[in-house]
Amino acid sequence: MKPKLFFAFAAFCCLFLAFGTYQGLVIAPTEETMGNVQRIFYVHVPAATVAFTLFFVNFVASIFYLWKRSPKADALAATAAEVGVVFSTVVLITGPIWARYAWGTWWSTWDMRLNTMLMLWLLYVSYLILRRSSTTGSTSVLASSLAIFAFLDVPIVYMANRWFRTHHPAPMIGTSNLDHRMQNILFINMLAFLCFGALIAWFRYEMERTSQKINAAHVQRAAGGAGAMLAVPAMWLATGHTNPAAYLWGGYLAAWGIYVSYLLFLMAKLGRLRKEAAELNAGS
């Protein structure tokens, strides 16, 4: 890793995210019917964009691994899946918080749009479990094959989305339904979160490489969001169901709770890896 470049990029991401969040929370016009709750949109949609991008990266890296058997591609695939799971957890938690206010219900069972995202999440969690529980030699090949299967499901369910009715708002980018100021702020946030995703993935990738190098492939599940999931039931207890601001803050809190706890989880893991590497060096 090039530390200088990494830290410069990290600083850039922080500034960009702060700018995007400020734009989303303060500058963006308030939506007519939903009020402030609609501002969850600026974390929900970018998280979905990043998650889909990372799952696509995972698919391409997996194919490349099966073709060339390069350990770098395998590390990239593992990284993309894990970080993708974190971002889709954010999507799955901020979505219901918004829906509870806008639709009056947390989840709509037969909504294909919601099911697609949940299914993707399940698929990539099962991918991470497979990586954890397969015997060391065969992990990469088995995981790469599963990744191809997982990505095959994406277009199928996406098409099913058109055949069934859905509550989820239709994509509005580029249509006259979306205020152009809102659209610009959405794009700023998308870019900011893509940078953020790339930053985390870079960090995680270097860790994966280190872990490969010291021959200790601890692939961990992205359990970072567990604490933040408490935000939803806590809100249920704490607030009346009519205050949009509560949902807005709940959404932002949950999203950032997940990101921060994942970063803390990575830090802890990095510490462990460093210790292990030091022990190995001392032993040899």
């Binding site: 099966l66 479990i129 497979l130 529980s133 397969s134 065969s138 088995l142 094959s145 997982a150 099913a160």
Partner: protein, 239 residues
């Protein structure tokens, strides 16, 4: 299998070249013969499915369960299928049979096709025996045409079996073998299960036509069968 390998390597032996269908058929007949003699998979699968039907009939009231009948039938089949598929490969692990397959010159696709067809026959048989049970316990009758139900059953079973056989081959390579298969198979099969359940419910209630769902299911079968055949050799030889 090991004798077959040495035979083709020995120079004086006649060179035997067999087509994939012939090899697959040998696998199918071997599997079915083993199953016929021991009946260990079939008996436990049949009993498991029976228990599921009985438990469901206690858990859901008969009249209230009519709208969710499609779901009940497929959940019962899905669970029994998972159980049968776990057994189908673990048989090959004993005495290193799977390793013998890997060194034998027969293509891996033939082995996979044979396993799939064997499992497919077994599960279709199970479904035929289970259907009367559903009629008895839930007073089930179909308003829509029966041939549509049969078509859904064939396509749906193939969708479950082809993915299931592939992921069972994958999960026997992991540490927690039996646990891994449902974890891998269920999320992948969600789109197929949704269309199977919806189509079955539509036919049973005689409302709407299941055409779209059937097309979707057929597409699912084609896509995943292709992917399974392309990747099976890689998974079989993963080390």
């Amino acid at each position: 299998m090991s004798t077959a390998t040495t035979k083709s390597v020995r120079p004086d032996a006649p060179r035997v070249s067999m087509s994939i269908t012939r090899l697959a058929w040998i696998n199918v007949s071997k599997d079915l013969r083993l199953e016929w003699r021991s009946r260990d998979v079939f008996n436990s699968m049949m009993f498991f499915a029976l228990v599921v039907v009985v438990v469901f009939s206690f858990a859901f009231e008969r009249e209230a369960s009519r709208p969710v009948m499609g779901g009940l039938i497929w959940v019962a089949f899905l669970f029994s299928t998972t159980m049968a598929l776990n057994q189908s490969w673990s048989r090959e692990l004993r005495n290193g049979v799977l390793d013998a397959y890997r060194v034998s010159p027969s293509p891996a696709e033939a082995l996979f096709l044979g396993k799939c067809l064997g499992n497919f026959i077994l599960i279709m048989l199970l479904e035929c025996l289970m259907a009367p049970l559903f009629v008895v316990f839930y007073n089930l009758s179909s308003i829509g045409p029966l041939w549509q139900l049969a078509l859904i059953a064939v396509l749906g079973t193939w969708a479950l079996v082809v993915n299931g056989t592939f992921f069972a081959a994958m999960s026997i390579r992991t540490r927690n073998r039996e646990l891994m298969l449902p974890l891998l198979l269920l999320p992948i099969s969600v789109p197929a299960v949704i269309s199977m359940v919806t189509a079955t419910a539509e036919v049973l209630a005689g409302e709407g036509s299941p055409g779209v769902q059937l097309k979707f299911l057929a597409g699912f079968c084609v896509i995943f069968t292709t992917a399974c055949f392309l990747l099976f050799e890689t998974v079989l030889n993963a080390e």
